[in-house]
């Protein structure tokens, strides 16, 4: 599979903004992940040729950053913060609740393919609304198990 014209155009546009094309690797990988859902070796190869660097360099960059996926994920991404501020206000209960409702461990995808979820030690920067999570990059704060259920139901029904 090769990247769509729109994604290629987006990557070329990014490339031309920077003093050096290599700087566009991160935005290019975001564009790929947005289209494909993860970073396939073929797509990374295309990024490499568009940015005029070796494919191995693109791969090396991609594995350094935790938000790039090397494998397909579920349709929605759930990230629960378990760092100190969230931990102090009940993040472990939220983690337990997700394990039960999604029926899988942190880092895995629910059987219906809807949600890949993970607890993250990387503070999400939402300590004032702890405990907090992100679903498809949007913040949800002051969580309770009921609020988590609401958010997941809304996301599932919206189907985006």
């Amino acid at each position: 599979m090769s990247l769509s014209k729109a994604t290629v155009a987006a990557i070329e546009k990014q490339r031309d903004r920077y003093p050096q094309p290599r700087s566009a690797i991160l935005p290019a990988l975001w564009a790929v992940q947005h289209e494909v859902g993860h970073l396939s070796p073929e797509a990374m190869g295309e990024v490499a040729s568009l940015l005029r660097v070796a494919p191995s360099e693109v791969e090396a960059v991609s594995t350094f950053y935790s938000m790039y996926f090397q494998k397909p994920h579920g349709r929605h991404e759930v990230l629960v913060c378990i760092n100190v501020s969230c931990g102090l206000r009940g993040a472990d209960d939220i983690v337990g609740h997700l394990e039960r409702t999604l029926g899988c461990a942190s880092g895995e995808t629910s059987a219906d393919g809807e949600f890949t979820w993970a607890s993250t030690v990387e503070c999400l920067g939402a300590c004032g609304g702890a405990p907090a999570m992100q679903v498809d990059h949007h913040f949800h704060e002051d969580l309770t198990p009921e609020r988590v259920d609401d958010v997941l139901a809304r996301v599932r029904n919206a189907g985006t």
Partner: protein
């Protein structure tokens, strides 16, 4: 003294995120005045006069940092550090969410002062919505002539590129940020040369925090002398404190520096929750040392807090009540550093791994008393021996907690469970 709103004065105004509303509150007047009243050199001096020190953690005087750029070497770059990933910090996100144009105005003023024509805003990947907000604001500012060629008729040109990260705390460290911006794995570089001499693309570069830059429109408009009248002698101005943990009203509060920490806790944060008492707190962020209730009388002053053995760092304040297990808190922080270690140097890469293994055993009550000495030994072999401060600071909280709460650490040894949690459960039952 209650909250003192300088940066946050207009926050909450409807649609402040749009250019027209921002302008109606006096927005971009600072930039216009900077062009009118100052040459780049005199602007650097004005910022020096203000005494402002960086809000990103290290507290380095901003004007002084700018003056390190070698003369006549161009191009120069400005990188706004919006990587905010320090545990407990959420002020930069707030500053962007509420007023993206204030940050853009600050970026432009700094760019003019250091004569940079391409500025970058490096924003962490998790702040996806904030990145989109900034990108929209940049477009709006560009169409109004604040970004691009001959800005507001001044003859000064500047482009701003918003660059999204992808999940790596280390990219907040200024040289790792530069590597990441160059399209590399974000690992710190050897200093010297410092970024001011050889930074992005090998050119002179200034890295400044979001909040530092947001102060600039105000310093320009009201003057460095006025700014200096706020705060204390060596901690001038205000700071936005990110308050979280066991308090009644978590959130961001902008305080004049020099205010007592107790006032921040009791008046702004509404005191400790559930009528419980304070056991400990962590100022500055996940990297900084633990402080005790007796330290509430300290002023919010960088030097005073440093003298007490910790730091105002990046402005976090995490308050912990009497039910908190300091071993558990230490373990969470150590896990964070272990996960975020970039792997470049051995003491950090291996040290955080051993630290984390040991902290988990300790929290479960499985470690023996002699392992506490092992923990101290691991930390002693890391602190001051790592390539960058990430590895050093991975030891600071846990070692300060061990020092002040040694009995709690010892009580975990061989207990077969976490004794603090067991006690809290018994208390509730």
């Amino acid at each position: 003294m209650a909250e003192y709103k300088l940066l946050t004065k207009d926050f909450g105004t409807e649609r402040l995120q749009t250019l027209s509303v921002y302008e109606s509150t006096g927005g971009y007047q600072g930039l216009r005045e900077a062009f009118k009243k100052f040459t780049p050199e005199s602007l650097v001096n004005e910022v020096k006069t203000s005494g402002i020190r960086g809000r990103g953690g290290a507290g380095f005087p901003t004007g002084t940092k700018w003056s390190f750029l070698p003369k006549d070497v161009f191009p120069r770059y400005l990188c706004c550090n919006a990587d905010e990933s320090e545990p407990g910090c959420f002020k930069d996100r707030y500053l962007i969410d509420e007023s993206p144009h204030q940050l853009i105005e600050g970026v432009l003023i700094a760019s003019y002062a250091i004569q940079c024509n391409t500025a970058f805003i490096y924003i962490r990947g998790e702040y996806h919505d904030q990145r989109l907000l900034l990108e929209r604001a940049v477009e709006e500012a560009r169409s109004a002539g604040y970004i691009g060629k001959n800005i507001a008729g001044s003859g000064f040109d500047c482009e701003i590129i918003v660059h999204g990260g992808a999940g790596a705390y280390i990219c907040g460290e200024e040289t790792a940020l530069i590597d990441s911006l160059e399209g590399l794995r974000g690992q710190p570089r050897l200093k010297p040369p410092f970024p001011a001499i050889k930074g992005l693309y090998g050119q002179p570069t200034v890295v400044n925090n979001v909040e530092t830059l947001c102060n600039l429109p105000h310093i320009v408009q009201r003057g460095g002398e006025w700014f200096k009248s706020l705060g204390t002698e060596r901690s001038t101005g205000t700071r936005v404190f990110c308050c979280s943990g066991h308090i009644n009203r978590p959130g961001n509060y902008e305080m004049q520096l020099g205010t007592q920490i107790r006032e921040l806790l009791e008046e702004e944060c509404g005191g400790m929750w559930r009528d419980r008492s304070l056991k400990a707190f962590q100022p500055g962020g996940g990297s900084m040392q633990v402080l005790l209730p007796e330290h509430l009388d300290l002023p919010l002053d960088m030097d005073a807090v440093a003298k007490a053995g910790s730091s105002l760092g990046a402005g976090a304040m995490v308050f912990m009540d009497e039910t908190t297990c300091l071993v558990d808190v230490s373990m969470r922080l150590v896990d964070f550093y272990q996960h975020e270690s970039c792997g470049k140097c051995v003491p950090c890469r291996e040290g955080t791994y051993f630290e984390s293994q040991l902290m988990h055993r300790l929290e479960r009550g499985e470690a023996s008393t002699s392992e506490l000495a092992t923990l101290a030994g691991i930390c002693a072999n890391m602190d001051g021996r790592c390539f960058c401060p990430l590895g050093d600071t991975a030891t600071w909280f846990v070692m300060s907690a061990y020092k002040h709460f040694g009995e709690e650490f010892e009580a975990h040894c061989g207990a077969g469970e976490c004794p603090v949690k067991a006690r809290s459960v018994a208390m509730v039952a």
